[in-house]
């Protein structure tokens, strides 16, 4: 049973560029959440997608956007990259009715902005 799959695993981008990160949720899950984990910090909530719509959003600028596809997979897009966007980006999936039972996290995409 595949868990949450994220791609790519590592990425290096230049300031000002745009990046797209991808996530396939665990089989049977319908909700995808994205988190940013800066070095030495706990993950911070970016947003959550359910039924192809953004349902909740954390304190992140509009440069961060996302999408959910009919097969529940999701993308995270970041425009106009800043050095401070360098972080581990984690995707988490769940059943919307069961998020209080915990998420399943992927291994993340390590983004480095130079």
């Amino acid at each position: 049973d595949a868990g949450v799959t994220q791609s790519p695993t590592h990425l290096i981008k230049t300031r000002g560029q745009q990046v797209t990160l991808r996530c396939s949720p665990k089989s049977g899950h319908d909700t995808v959440s994205w988190y940013q984990q800066a070095l030495g910090q706990g993950p911070q909530f970016i947003f959550q997608y359910y039924e192809e719509e953004e349902r909740q959003r954390g304190n992140f600028p509009d440069r961060f956007s996302g999408h959910q596809f009919p097969n529940y997979s999701s993308e995270l897009n970041v425009n106009a990259l800043l050095l401070g966007d360098s972080a581990l980006y984690l995707c988490a999936s769940s059943l919307v009715a069961g998020t209080n039972y915990g998420y399943t996290f992927g291994s993340g995409t390590r983004l480095t902005v130079v």
């Binding site: 988190y35 909740q56 209080n100 915990g102 399943t104 291994s107």
Partner: protein
């Protein structure tokens, strides 16, 4: 508003001795509480969860945690540390179905042989 405070950024124990990782939370409603573990270059793995059932929660790999509402605490314990327990541990609070998770800043556990 929800928040989590992990009281120790680093904990070091000898192999075979007890582990105690401390967590205090703030929540306006009845929270769901979790402990996750993160090994280097790995994703987050759920250790255990509290969702308003029994206050003493047992998780994987011998870990357990006790929900104490009066103290707003959810400390993680293990009777005997193993080398493989060395990792980063995160305490997490959520206010129910569909709501975002709020993570603490993490506690790095070192196990000394």
């Amino acid at each position: 508003a929800q928040s989590v405070t992990q009281l120790d950024s680093h904990v070091s124990v000898s192999e075979g001795t007890p582990v105690l990782l401390r967590c205090n939370y703030s929540s306006s409603y009845s929270p769901s509480l979790f402990w996750y573990v993160q090994h280097p270059n790995k994703g987050l793995q759920l250790l255990l969860k509290y969702t308003s059932a029994a206050t003493l929660v047992k998780g994987i790999n011998g870990f357990e945690a006790e929900f104490k509402k009066s103290e707003t605490s959810f400390h993680l314990t293990k009777p005997s540390a193993h080398m493989s327990d060395a990792a980063e541990y995160f305490c997490v609070v959520s206010e129910g179905t569909g709501n975002q998770f709020y993570f603490g800043t993490g506690t790095s556990l070192t196990v000394i042989p």
